[in-house]
Amino acid sequence: MVGLSEGEKQFLRGGIEQDLRSDGRTRHQFRSVYVETGVIPQANGSARVRLGATEVIASIKAELGKPSLLHPDKGKVSIFVDCSPTAAAIYGGKGGEELSMELSVALERCLLGGKSGAGAAIDLSSLVLVEGKVCWDLYIDALVVSSDGNLLDSLAAAIKAALSNTGLPKVNVVLGASPEEQPEVDVSDEEFLQFDTSTVPAIITLTKVGKHYIVDATSEEESQMNSAVSVSVNRNGQICGLTKRGGAGLDPSVILDMVSVAKHVSQQFTSDLDSEIAAAEASDE
């Protein structure tokens, strides 16, 4: 819903061509990232992340549940993204559902790994308390409060920050005598287990405008895109997920080039994000 005049479009495209974008950034430069943790007191972990004028909140809630029959040795994680109509009027009513679903699916794809669980950012087997009986169900709820482009990257960053803010209470499980009996669960309210978020990847979306690709596009820039590729890269430089958006086709070699650029950019972004998270955690204490 960005209405740009011909002149403005030319200005944007010209800037990108000359590696100087309208807000003064280079093509592969992120906007400054701001992280605040512990913003939702009733959640187990939460964070607010701001990238320029884009603002998202992520909250993690953990509930005790039963592992699924197919994977008795794994906990469950589900991700729900909601686009608040406050962020843009078109998200009102049912208008935001499609985008919300698309973002949720893209995040699940990037964070939860393959069907066998390989490459998952969150170690699902660490969520199991008693195999086949008790496990943690993690509900990751994210809300887009204000939107100025690059929602997916911001959401992934917010989820990472919220996960590092998460403390799961220590649980003592006493199994019943017979297999049908519900096990007794004792949830500690003093001891908490921290989450290891070093494996959580960062998502880098490269937006192709003209011949060039840019990272962290604003909504003005996104309106000019031909196509975009979101790549999730973990600390080891492995690719953990990839989604293409936008209609125009891409040459396979271009995609591979974009992936390698994303890999390169991710190192800087991940370290920036990590230090921001650490700072936020410190101030939160």
Partner: protein, 253 residues
């Protein structure tokens, strides 16, 4: 018990899957259950004109994956839609209740609908039908693995059958990554125990990728290898699709 009724085969299936998973993760070399090699696709059966009520339709059968796609239009857009000087593409994917081994709800699959839309929108020349909508409706009769690629290929065939202008046919193939191996056109059992997957839709004649999704952990060279494998298979599939279209054109003459 959560549900009041249940399928008696749940337990057996679970055991089977666990066995399979154990087997596949240990060995590096094994035979696929249907006797194919790792880089061999299932035999594809394609037909146009499956439902005559539609402007164009196609039926695709890859192994046990069976899909019907009907295309309606170009026809009047919904009243609530605003004016648009290019056409709209509306995609909808539904699974039958008996498509999967556990009885489903038979509701729309929003995720696949969105993916189908993304895979096709780059290929359809929307400028040729301004103000109107082309509806692409897919029904998965039976799900036997690699459902999305089959839907995409079948849909582009149905679009061609309906005479909708496209830059090129879109063909789509997926691969599964299990252990060290890359398997093309995986079946359901293989998909369940995959470590990663890559779905690629492309216009082979233009060498352009219209849709690419990837899950699991991949290194750059491995992505390269998988993409090449897919592009190659897509090219072959497009050939089959083309001959299917020619055949139906000859028949009608």
């Amino acid at each position: 018990m959560a549900a009041s009724t249940y399928s008696p085969s749940q337990g057996a299936e679970r055991r089977q899957r666990q066995q399979q998973m154990r087997r596949l993760s240990i060995q590096s070399d094994w035979d696929r259950s249907d006797g194919r090699s790792f880089i061999q696709c299932r035999p594809a059966f394609l037909r146009t004109g499956a439902a005559n009520a539609a402007s164009g339709s196609a039926y695709a059968e890859f192994g046990t994956t069976k899909v019907i796609v009907s295309v309606f239009g170009p026809r009047e857009s919904k009243k609530a839609m605003m004016y648009s000087d290019i056409g709209r593409l509306n995609c909808n994917v539904t699974f039958t209740t008996f498509a999967t081994s556990l009885r489903g709800q038979g509701s729309d699959n929003k995720e696949y609908s969105a993916m189908l839309h993304k895979a096709l929108e780059g290929a359809v020349i929307l400028e040729t039908f301004p103000k109107t909508t082309v509806d692409v409706f897919a029904l998965v009769l039976e799900s036997g693995g690699s459902d999305l690629p089959v839907i995409i290929s079948c849909a582009s065939l149905a679009l061609a059958d309906a005479g909708i202008m496209m830059y090129d046919l879109v063909s789509s193939v997926s691969v599964s990554c299990i252990g060290k191996n890359i398997l093309i056109d995986p079946t359901n059992e293989e998909e369940v125990c995959q470590d990663g997957s890559l779905v690629l839709a492309c216009m082979p004649a233009r060498n352009e990728v219209t849709q690419l999704t990837l899950t699991g952990e991949w290194s750059l060279p491995k992505i390269n290898e998988a993409m090449e494998l897919c592009m190659d298979a897509c090219l072959k599939l497009a050939g089959i699709m083309r001959s299917c279209l020619k055949e139906s054109a000859n028949l009608s003459n």
